[in-house]
Amino acid sequence: MWSDAAPFPDLTPLWLTMRLAGISVVILLLVGTPLAWWLAQTRSRAKVAVEAITALPLVLPPTVLGFYLLVLLSPNSMLGGAWRDVTGTALTFSFTGLVVASVLYSLPFTVQPLQASFEAIGRHPMEAAASLGAGPMDRFFTVATPLALRGYLTAMVLSFAHTLGEFGVVLMVGGNIPGQTKVISIAIYEHVETLEYAQAHLLSAILLGISFVVLVAVYAANRRFPVHAG
């Protein structure tokens, strides 16, 4: 079962995955930040419902969520159809579709930690910033964001890692097309399913190794520029 000599696995899926995870994390932060900020600030009654809905994508098995996304994003559907009309390309079985699916699926991992750390800031530093002439956007970027750095770290680590490992959704929506939508998780999965254990181990080790290095770098950076609480 643990063979020693095996053809070196194709690394295209790895780069594809890193691209997907990178792009997804960026989009997640862009989408998750205003949502989390709104949730942290609002006194609306809708808040609780929105909070719950944000967490719901997690509840469905990834493959099933993938299936629903497949239906939703397909050019036969309203949404997917509209996308195709505008861009000329289909959302499903494309890298863009993968990004959309990843973002949807990992959204809770971004929104929840961000919201928690925005809430922890409280209104005092924001009031101080306002009294110093900083408008809402200004103080959001110069006060709330740096003070919520720990939340951003958590959000990024969780969504990055989750996007790397994510698999069911991506497989369904992306269609496992080499070089386009065949990410490393699918590749490893396939190696396991087709008994290419040695290659699976190797790819897993590479994935774990790179992830470890990335995570250590992120955490170490966080340690170097901490916000001294109290």
């Binding site: 005092h124 530093p125 009031e127 101080a128 910033a129 306002a130 009294s131 110093l132 002439g133 900083a134 408008g135 809402p136 200004d138 103080r139 110069t142 006060v143 740096p146 003070l147 750095l149 916000v227 001294h228 609480a229 109290g230």
Partner: protein
């Protein structure tokens, strides 16, 4: 130029602030009142930080708040020293100051950075994080940061409470310079009578969310009826004086209605008008001009009224000239022994050195 106009109400659970009051367009207004009387809440309303506040706030001809209109706090060009320092934990001291300065400059105002840093003694602290500051250091940084906004209105909530007298002595002249030199109106919450007496042109006394008294500092500080609110020991009078001479032995000589005063030397041009505060309890009365005492200052006036307080004291008012009274707080026993009565001519003995350095200040715009 019109000053700050307030007509507001703020309901907090179990507390209601209701203030309808005009503030002078220049000079420093002290907001005075017991703990929990609503001083900080009042500043918050002025700054636009209390969304729950009802009513009108106007400043310098602009309406900051009225039903249906609300100018956001960052557009009010205020400087706010919070009661807690509220420094930005993610920035150094220099970063905190730069934060204020950058936005002030963007809005076309130019703070005096080196002057502020020097006045507050922050040279050695600039690279520190707020978490590495002592209580008093944090308070000084907070004050500097508010000054760095080069504000049009300065709100200060007990800015000197964590500081020792030496530090206060270094900072107060700077506040006076802002008050007078830059013509920035200051609203200053304090429970220190000596600070109020030195700095304030106007006083607003709050009690349980309501204005109890308001008016020129001189009137309120010398009004026996207001004394209990300040604590009886704070009662005193403020005399207008003119600088007559500065002597070699370190004393300055002033003319006031009723005579001359020798006070510890201070910097002011000959002929300048200054204010001198004389605490009522530092005055000794005599029916005849006393001789052979170390006290150098003796003023003569007419006893206009005696007012019996709670406890063993009597507040005696001597009229020195138009609008110029000296208050003396003496015991009933002494009043009886000297057979004091209105209409008598009396002498007030004042130890020169009991006129505190803090109590001699610029004349401002009362």
């Amino acid at each position: 130029m019109s000053g700050l106009e307030l007509d507001i109400a703020l309901d907090l659970p179990g507390f209601r602030l209701e203030v309808s009051q005009s503030f002078a367009p220049t000079g420093l207004t002290a907001v005075f009142g017991p703990s929990g009387s609503g001083k900080s809440s009042l500043l918050r309303v002025i700054a636009g930080l209390e969304a729950r506040a009802q009513g009108r706030v106007g400043f310098d001809g602009q309406l900051w708040q009225e039903p249906g209109r609300f100018v956001a706090p960052h557009r009010r060009a205020i400087g706010y020293v919070f009661q807690d320092a509220r420094l930005f934990a993610h920035l150094t001291v220099a970063g905190n100051l730069a934060y204020a300065e950058r936005r002030a400059r963007r809005a076309g105002r130019a703070p005096d950075r080196p002057g502020i840093v020097a006045a507050l003694g922050l040279e050695g602290l600039l690279t520190r994080r707020p978490s590495g500051l002592s209580g008093g250091e944090a308070q000084r940084v907070a004050m500097a940061r508010a000054l760095m906004t080069a504000p049009r209105l300065l709100l200060m909530d007990e800015p000197l409470s964590a500081l020792d007298d030496a530090a206060k002595g270094a900072i107060l002249p700077y506040i006076e310079a802002i008050r007078d030199g830059m013509q920035v109106p200051v609203i200053y919450v304090s429970h220190s009578v000596s600070e109020v007496a030195r700095l304030a042109h106007h006083i607003v006394m709050l009690e349980a969310g309501q204005v109890r008294r308001a008016g020129p500092a001189q009137d309120i500080l010398s009004d026996p009826a207001a004394a209990p609110a300040f604590g009886i020991r704070a009662a005193g009078s403020v005399l207008r004086a003119k600088v007559l001479a500065h002597h070699d032995d370190g004393l300055s000589e002033l003319t006031v209605a009723g005579g001359r005063l020798l006070v510890p030397g201070f910097a002011a041009a000959i002929g300048a008008e200054v204010r001198v505060r004389i605490a009522a309890q530092d005055v000794i009365l005599s029916r005849s001009r006393p001789e052979g005492l170390s006290a150098l200052n003796v003023l003569e006036g007419e006893l206009t009224d005696l007012r019996q307080g709670q406890g063993p004291g009597v507040m005696v008012r001597l009229r020195m000239g138009a609008d110029q009274d000296v208050l003396a707080r003496i015991t009933q026993r002494s009043a009886r022994a000297l057979s004091l009565a209105p209409g008598q001519r009396c002498f007030a003995v004042i130890k020169s050195l009991s006129i505190a350095p803090l109590d001699v200040g610029g004349s401002g715009a009362v």
